[in-house]
Symmetry: C2
Subunit: 495 residues, 2 copies
């Protein structure tokens, strides 16, 4: 059937949507949600069908195409396109296999991931796939297959020099911003480290959000390569690079469904490392009541799974378990975290001790992994690079190479409230989850200057009347809103 | 945030969709696929967000509402509506429980089903629910909960008289059209039988499609009740009655995903019986290579599950296993099946024997269930009602009460091809699945006159050159297409 294109300037951000008049839909025998193949010159795209009964929307003989689909088909308003009915996506059968609890081959993962990237799966199919992979947990081999499929369907970056260093934290702890300290140290030691980070999904700030208060992080592949040539290191937002694009769509489905599947998380992390050609990876798994991983046994299991995938991808890995009971730095929120980082880089005496120590330990391990430092002397080398100011110099070079951010982004919010201790005693518990919620309600990460500043950490001795934490906001309403609903007594336990 | 309504005359047939301009979306901090609450006067509806960057589609300050949503909100073009962000649907947490393999309570099923009926779940959420219920098979109690929830969220019909008889076949076999013969016999015996049937989903004809060649089957509840008052019996399309509307949405998701979940099937069948107030139900489970249920053990298991649900709903059930190796009647396709039925009603000597016998047996069981016939004498009473012409008289009364269909619908397609036996021997195997495909390709059920007519059944002795089956179509292209791709030798095995 030939139909005339009607442009509908609607952006769906997801699957390709077309709109048929009910009369044509009946003739084609397609229903709402069915898929059709639309051909125009050399372009063929698969689209989902919506139906209208109103000629004003789409007349019989015409087909309404939403934005992304017009662009892909390169079909102007009024152009004639050919419509045919297609069988189910190849993925449907594969998704059915997974629902039945069977293992999928690497070719099957590639087929599904290709169709995801080409927007050929409906929301329902994608959700069924993600749900089935969550319920019938992916085996280690399946994680490798999914990971490779995600890399093959996205951009890849290659560097001639070896080793290519990388570091990653699986997250869950606010204020755990080690990357911006580690990367300049490693680069200052002469090693290559093209580090990609994510923005916040559910947290008050991702590494990319924090760094954006200081430098441009939305670099494409070419600008990233140029920055690396100049300085050995880069810290960029992975989202601008189109690495493993299927992962973004999977996460977009997982997130509202509250799915947090271990296998997909491992594939997601490792795909991004593999895509930038990392040869050495230090992985930080925080363990504790406030972290994603609660128990040592779960941590060991996760370590084993990551190591297997690393071996299969040829990436040398070191995995460390770190403390996951409280925020590591003092700041939570983009500018407040950036403040912590700059203090550490500048060897400021008021810099947060735990964050500095953790970063130096991790940098030390990486220097040893790369053979830059002898076993046992990595920490010392990292500390020397930091205290000598070489790390700061490298950091500044990186800021110049990537582009400096407007200074205003580093401003802390001008509205604030401080919560004080009501008794003397020792801090025996800090609820990092509620602190994160407060920081988000105060405006982080969108308002760079919003967030929470911790005056005390676990095991610190406090006096009645001493400050425990301060909430900052750029907007007085948000400040009020952020702490209005919280039982502030529950956040710090003083015993 | 207050926004001005822009009408978009697009019918989605599914979830409520609204379109925001990117600028407003950013201010509200909502993304593609998020949900918002739209309030207008006393109406509140939840809608999914699409985003446009084009002012031509939706200007900043406006919100585009698709058809169903405008109607529900009763909001005119230009009206101001209030937008607020809402948390996830309550169902999300419940769906998460099911994904984790936990049993759901009846209250939880009710919550999910209510949100399905109110169109408050996204396609992804609905797919996750259906997938999770498929993988973690529903327990018998869960089936009862789902069933009751589906009834509570739809229309119900009540009759004062008792018993209310019902009959159902779980399907899978073409040409198994017993309902139109059984119902007039039961009604002629003075029993109430308000029978609802479905249209074809994947088959060449549903009972409703076949009956539509003779009478109007799209009756609303009032017309159904009036027809019943006059004649005791009715045979209508269930889809016009809005019984268990959640079931339709679940099936619409299951179908493209190729999910055929036993628990949901049981809930779906029983919900429709419960909603029309059936007190007695005869259930036909065909068992055999061509049926949905392949093995005696699967049949027994299914019987036990149906019986449990029937007990819990207070419906007296009899379940029979019938032969599922071949089509029961001779015709496959609306008019061809109707021809078989009319021949049986008129005691025509060329009427298909198996279909007549099966129908009489089933009607006999029902007469015994209702206490109309003594145990052991039901078949005899049914045969007497049929042979005396009382069944035909009742049938004609029902046609008058529901409304006679145009005569043209009973016309068999004028294009035909007959396939003849290439050898002498006994019919040892008939592939009903391929026959169904041929009937569909020939145009059934949309073309009433299209389909397949069987000249031979299993165990019949045939001579070389005798006709095996004839394909009928209303359109010569479809006829050619229907048998072009089929290996005709594979359909009948003569040994």
């Amino acid at each position: 059937m030939l139909l005339r294109v009607k442009r509908l300037d609607i952006h769906t951000g997801g699957p390709f949507i077309s709109i048929l008049h009910a009369r044509d839909a009946e003739q084609l025998d397609v229903h709402y949600g069915d898929r059709i193949l639309i051909s125009h010159n050399n372009h063929k795209e698969i689209a989902v069908v919506d139906i209208t009964h109103h000629k004003k929307t789409v007349q019989p003989g015409s087909i309404g195409l939403m934005e992304e689909l017009q662009a892909k088909l390169n079909a102007r308003h009024g152009a004639k396109v050919r419509i045919s009915i297609i069988p189910h996506a190849e993925s449907t059968i594969i998704i059915g296999k997974k629902m039945a609890g069977r293992r999928l081959s690497s070719q099957e993962f590639l087929t599904v991931v290709q169709e995801i990237v080409r927007n050929r799966l409906t929301e329902a199919e994608l959700a069924a796939f993600v749900t089935a992979c969550f319920i019938h947990e992916l085996s280690d081999d399946e994680v490798v297959s999914l990971c490779k499929a995600m890399v093959l369907t996205g951009e890849r970056i290659t560097f001639r020099r070896r080793p290519v260093m990388d570091v990653h934290c699986i997250g869950g702890i606010p204020g755990n911003r080690t990357t911006p300290i580690i990367v300049p140290i490693i680069a200052a030691a002469g090693l290559l480290i093209p580090k990609t980070s994510s923005r916040a999904i559910t947290s008050p700030s991702g590494t990319a959000d924090t760094l954006e208060t200081i430098m441009d992080v939305s670099l494409g592949i070419n600008r990233l390569k140029k920055a690396i040539e100049k300085t050995n290191g880069a810290m960029v937002w992975g989202g601008a690079l189109n690495l493993a694009p299927a992962d973004d769509r999977i996460i977009r489905i997982e997130h509202p469904l509250n799915i947090d599947a271990e296998g997909q998380m491992i594939a997601s992390v490792m795909a991004k490392k593999y895509a930038v050609g990392s040869t050495h990876l230090l992985l930080d798994i925080p363990v504790g009541g406030m972290a994603k991983v609660k128990s040592p046994s779960a941590a060991l299991r996760l370590k084993r799974r990551f190591e297997y995938v690393g071996r299969r991808l040829g990436i040398k890995m070191r995995i460390i378990f770190t403390e996951g009971e409280e925020p590591i730095g003092n700041g939570i929120g983009p500018a407040l975290e950036a403040q912590d980082i700059l203090k550490i880089m500048k060897n400021d005496k008021t810099a947060p001790v735990y964050l500095k120590e953790k970063s130096l330990k991790m940098a030390g391990i990486m220097l040893e992994m790369a053979g830059k430092a002898k076993i046992g002397s990595g920490y010392k080398m990292a500390a020397e690079i930091l205290s000598s100011g070489r790390a700061l110099k490298k950091f500044n070079q990186m800021v110049e190479a990537q582009g400096r951010a407007p200074k205003s982004r580093l401003k802390i919010g001008k509205y604030k409230t401080t919560i004080f201790s009501k008794r003397n005693g020792k801090v025996s518990w800090i609820n990092a989850r509620i602190l994160s919620q407060i920081a988000k309600a105060a405006g982080a990460p969108k308002d760079y200057g919003a967030g929470v500043y911790l005056h005390q950490h676990l095991k610190d001795m406090v006096q009645k009347g001493q400050p425990l934490f301060t909430v900052y906001a750029e907007n007085s309403e948000k400040l009020k809103h952020s702490i209005a609903n919280e039982q502030l007594d529950l956040i710090f336990r003083i015993t």
